[in-house]
Symmetry: C4
Subunit: 487 residues, 4 copies
């Protein structure tokens, strides 16, 4: 750095003789100086209008606007899913209080309550049409037949427990026994299979009730968009894995949106999606321009560096030191390019979503959100052109590695404390130890929560194929060991 500065300074002192060599040197010196100017100084020096800065400012405005539009839209979708989940919990879980206990919806403690809760699900499901106020109904397969509700119970293959004698005789292999039934005939069906519902709680590991529902998100009509169709894969789990006298009820929903197959709509202009698409296209255009400008600047900088180091080599027979080389690579440009690429990907995803050919709101929101974050952080660069702010930013830059180093030391102690605290205090009594202090427990909870996810996914993807009649197949469930079918 010092070398570079000295070189630039010396330039003013002796430049009397005008040999071609001197002219070349002088031009390099000018270019270097110009390169390290702020947009304002550049304008003063060569009347260079700061296009790049203008593009950046335009970009901030456009990206933020785009994000707000997308966010409002996204929130509609998320709230639709959440409200449906809440509605289904209220419909199907007996005695649901409106808030989940811990990570399950409710816990029951007596055999009576287990039976009641189970039959409640079946009853409510069979009269869903008269019950629900939402736009949902039973799912159908391709032939127009209603998809059946499936009840599966998983239990130890053999198991006689005599806790009084401290004796047990168990076959640890799990057996899964399933039944399917037509949604609308719960009552007679329950009586016919009363043996299935005769649960041996000592052996029972869990009961899973699964069914599919279809819904239409009419809400979006009002914001002049086409309504989406949703498939809800609902799984209600009675979890008795721990055999501790506490049966936990979970209701998991996997909602999947898609364009509706057959629709007719009238009475709404439904044009402004076109405007939105044009706007998104314009955002992409601006980002491409911004990327191009920044790439050009980087290329110019690299070329300048080459000229400079060649000149140095020739005249002083020395290499340009590494710190000086670094000065030529402007980190801000890299930031801008990264942000632009993210925005372009995000915008394309957004357009796809609007065209109903994609439904991955989450991925898109990550791209757009991150790019907006980077763009706003990039504003700090322009603040750096003001003298007083510059001091602040340089101070921050200098302090950063020290802070990082301190965090590293503290991190070691924290890691030790985390492990120690988790094992010594974690499992006991207080919730706060479990959730606040010890990330490990969170991890564990996360794992526990998402344990069933592959199951649900499997189930939901393959859900359309099985063409078996009522009371028969259960291919879609992950069969650990054996499955006995009642047909």
């Amino acid at each position: 750095m010092e070398l570079l500065v000295r070189y630039l300074e010396r330039s003013n002192s002796f430049s009397s003789a005008l040999t071609p060599e001197v002219i070349r040197e002088e031009r390099l010196r000018d270019d270097l100086k110009y390169y390290f100017m702020s947009p304002c100084e550049k304008y003063r020096a060569r009347r260079h209008i700061p296009w790049k800065m203008g593009v950046q400012i335009l970009k901030i405005v456009m990206i933020t606007t785009q994000l707000v539009f997308f966010g409002l839209n996204n929130q509609l979708v998320v709230s639709y899913k959440e409200e449906n989940t809440m509605a289904l919990k209220n419909l199907f879980i007996k005695g649901y209080s409106g808030v989940d206990e811990d990570d399950f919806s409710i816990a029951v403690y007596t055999q009576r309550d287990v039976y009641d809760s189970l039959f409640y699900v079946l009853d409510q499901y069979s009269q869903l049409g008269e019950l629900s106020v939402g736009a949902i109904s039973y799912a159908e397969d391709e032939d127009g037949l209603l998809l059946p509700l499936t009840v599966c119970k998983e239990y130890y293959k053999r198991g006689s427990l005599k806790p009084s004698d401290e004796a047990y005789d168990i076959d640890a292999q799990l057996e899964t026994l399933c039944m399917e039934h037509d949604p609308r005939t719960a009552n007679q069906w329950r009586k016919q299979n009363s043996s299935f519902f005769d649960l041996d709680f000592y052996r029972l590991v869990n009961i899973k009730v699964t069914f599919n529902l279809k819904g239409i998100n009419l809400q979006t009509v009002r914001s002049r968009e086409l309504p989406d169709c949703y498939s809800f894969y609902v799984m209600i789990t009675f979890d008795n894995e721990s055999h501790s006298g506490k049966v936990k009820l979970y209701l998991d929903i996997d909602a999947e949106s898609s364009a509706c197959q057959d629709w007719k709509i009238s009475g709404t202009a439904q044009k402004n999606t076109h405007y939105l698409l044009v706007f998104d296209g314009f955002v992409i255009l601006v980002c491409i321009i911004s990327t191009t400008l920044c790439t050009r600047s980087i290329i110019l900088a690299v070329r300048l560096l080459q000229r400079f180091s060649q000149f140095f080599q020739e005249h002083f027979d020395r290499k340009v030191c590494e710190d000086d080389q670094k000065e030529f690579l402007n980190g801000w440009y890299v930031l801008v390019i990264v942000s632009d690429v993210l925005t372009i990907i995000g915008s394309i995803l957004k357009m796809e979503i609007q065209a109903k050919s994609l439904t991955s709101y989450d991925v898109c929101s990550i791209f757009l959100g991150t790019s907006t974050l980077l763009v706003w952080v990039g504003v700090i660069r322009y603040l750096g052109y003001f003298q007083k702010y510059n001091v602040l930013i340089l101070t921050m830059k200098a302090a950063f590695p020290k802070v990082l180093r301190f965090c590293c030391c503290a991190g070691m102690i924290y890691l030790g404390y985390t492990f120690c605290g988790w094992i010594v205090l974690g499992p006991y009594h207080e919730k706060k130890y479990q959730s606040d202090g010890f990330p490990l427990t969170d991890l564990q909870k996360f794992l526990r929560e998402h344990k069933d996810f592959p199951v649900v996914d499997d189930f939901s993807e393959k859900d359309v194929e099985p063409k078996c009649s009522t009371f028969c197949c259960c291919k879609r469930f992950p069969v650990n060991d054996d499955i006995i079918l009642i047909s």
Copy 2:
């Protein structure tokens, strides 16, 4: 500043010859010195009694007293409105738990519950007289006829949904169908119009039940003021806009107070409002004096500055630099004048309120509150006259711009984080992200909450005119598309 100080200091060294010119200069110097003295020093120098300071201290006492009186009064009004809201929610919302969920009062999930809640409102309203313990009753129009209760349902003009087939056929235009009925004949009326109450939940967007109540705030009798009359415009909304299976119930009240038309009161002195009016008048007087004194000081300072700069021009042929000019403008005086003007406006509003010709407690409280804040902040100025405090205040002054600059940088990062967090994390699960971190969501919530406000306002203002018979007109409601009238 330095120039000024040097000039003042030099004054003591050479002042031997007493030409008129020198005398004039000497007088200017004296005036300048005097101008920059604290009240205490002024008293010592010219036995000038600090009237201005006295007035300020008197003002603090009086404004604070006034504010406390007004605040106690204001709280009575606010608590009356709040308790009425709470009472009406308990009367009309079935299963109301005493606290609002989120921003709605309660949510229902089954068709049965929707009907029950709706009929509950009608039933309770028809027997309001025997039910409520408060001083409220049905509102009447000018002819002494009871104003009717109105039930409006809004739905999609045409709409057949088949979620099972992923098919829908919708006319996105909204139709509003309304009914009015006499408050006291709910039961027979409900039977006669059973078709109206046959809701098609797939098409239904919302149901709005609106009615007017009148109340008298007797509470103020005890603080020896005249009771106010209140009109309550109540709107109960069953919101099914999202069609997600969750119907939200809102109860919005727009309370409007006015002087009662026909009153007779005995057994209470009811005189001290006069005292209060006199006190308010006195506050205004003090504020006018304070403003006058401060304006005078500012004018004197400007004149002194003119003399000083003229003198400078003549003798040194130099302009007084800007920093020195700034020293002549005392920011505290501006603060005092602003605070005085606010107080005067606030006091006039307060007197109007006490005379029952205005009811805008909110506006008045903002004026009085802000002025009191400024007056107390103004006390810091007098602390500045003590040597040691002065150091403190100067330090604060110096640190302020740096702190501001830091906030500016942090603000950029925060803005980026806000947008990013809102879009990526915001809509998901946890309430805390929605309310804590991301102001955008708050904004959104605010917009959602006040979406209905213009409606309510329209409705409440025009509410008195429509003279139509029962079961007929609905002019007062904002008719989006069509309205079919059942007459």
Copy 3:
């Protein structure tokens, strides 16, 4: 200070000639040096055993022990009162949820609920004997007659409200109508006076049900103390003052403890109160010794100062400056003496309480608590004798006034903010503004809560005298205007 130090230092340099004058000076110098030594240095210099320090350490141990004993005892009493309050609320307030809403126990919103809650109180009271699990029963007067339950309703003398017409005609004077009845005949009595219970809610201001109960705190038997007898003056208020449709129910208890009149106890040693009294006496003794020693030190210091200033006057003809004089007054001694006096008063009170001749636990706990706080703060002094701690303490001493000054400035801004916030934000919606930020609201709440206290006090003190038959006198209630008696 400097003068003093210089004087002490000079002492070592020239002390060759031994004239009587020099000897006297030398002795003064020695005494001065000795005076400013720490206990440790004193011991090294003159083998002076640090009695004072020993006494202080002993005192800390003893006072803390005493406080712990008293605290455990105090908590028994407080928890007895609290549990009784909770039990009575559960017995007499219909639908009590176990926690008070805001500052009232529960709120009712319909006429039906008001009647139900009122009759519930009467019913429950009439069958108290079979109901309560605690050691309470009805209070008796001197003749062994049960004290009656009193129901008072307060209402506007005249009042016809027509909210529909915005019309009212009110006599703001309040009338109080009371009834008394024998505890055990609620049912028939209610029927006989059905007109009394025909409430006109427009005029009704409040209903007060008052009765007396007696209880015995048996719990203390187990800690080998005599059980106390308690009188509970219970007042249940139905507050309709605001006429807002929300009737608030308060249950206030005024518990008064006294020694039981007639008791016989066996099977317990009941001796250790004697030990406690002896211990308290010992604490008082130690405190007296400590006070004496400190007073002596102060007197010696004053004498030394006199000698020193006299010497100064004679030799240098100068006065000892004020700062040096201050060095002679040891602030710690004053602290110790204040703490000792508080302890002595507290201990005497404690002994009286143990001897059952006093029951003012609150006053005693303030004395003992404050003295313990001071004693522990006094420990810092001994830390000051260690070199390194001393630096810390001196720094604290120096920083204190600056911190205070800053707080003063911040205080002004806070005051302004408080007033402004209270008036502008305070009365609205959120509880947190009311309780957190704005002390004024707390004050107001406090005033509201304790509004009824003088009533309760009056009532409880004069409670024993009135000898009137059932259904008659109401002397004990503060009669604002008129009282009509139903006899």
Copy 4:
């Protein structure tokens, strides 16, 4: 330190003559230098591969892995106990809301509720088999007879209270009256002993219902471990000690796990416990190696110190000063050794637990947790070898005593505040004072909670011996005074 450094530095300057003496000195100097090198420098100097460092890194990985395995296992056990406690509370406590109030489960306020809750326990217990969904049943003695349920009531021997007359006559001695009954015949048994259940609430101090249950933790089958058998010693207490009208219900469980006596399991590999045992053995081995290496280093250091001080004695006739001696004792080695010892003990305990010969999860988790904490803290040492981190660590080292000293001063004030606050504010109203500020109250609460523990312990240990028939002996209960037996 300086001396040492100077000595080491001088070594380079003059070492020309090679007398044996000089060689010996030179070798000492080399050894000293080598001793104070970092592992990296040692490797460069003598190609010494840093075994010790490698072992430490291996140890961190292994110990952390071990801890995670143990923690997951431990959590299963803890959650099993907690879920059982929760299940039993829901089964046996009438009206249990799912969360404990304060430290008791629920409080009842009327005689009716006390009887109901008591009979509810008996009823539920008698039909436990049809009720519970968990793997629990009644406990049996050796002869295969079911262990009886015991109801004990404790009351004052004699006691007639007349609160109305402020009179009482009490024998403070406590009498305990017990009954036992066969689990399955509650109804008839309750009728036959109706006199026992005729409670005199004035005299009643508490009722204790105790019974034993047996359970099997089947959950561990799924993680391929053998299920443990559990004994639950349940005690339900109706606490009327305070006679304040509030009877508190506690349900205390003492769970004890042991290997089941008679088991047969199939269908699971159940091999990986062997792997775990091998892994634990390997951890122990690594720890032994680590300890050995560190001990060797310490011994070498001591020997080097001896050589150095001997050399110093001979050549300079001076002792090595204490600070320099301290430099030879490496605190990190001590830390490593302590951590190793803890790990070894913890691992042995863990192996015992896995082999089902021990069940003290708590003790083991403290050993393993602490050792992991120390190991991670030890990582800081290796960070200290990097130049920049070293500065940080040295700064921390220097600041530590000052921080400690400050805490000491603040601690004194806090202690005083604690005592004062506890006594003055503590017992009143607000829960937050009781739990937040004042540790004393926590202590007190702790003592109150664990008051019954010895009782439970006694009871659970001796629980197996008494062979008395139903309705007879109560040896197992701590009999304070007398016990009357109903036989």
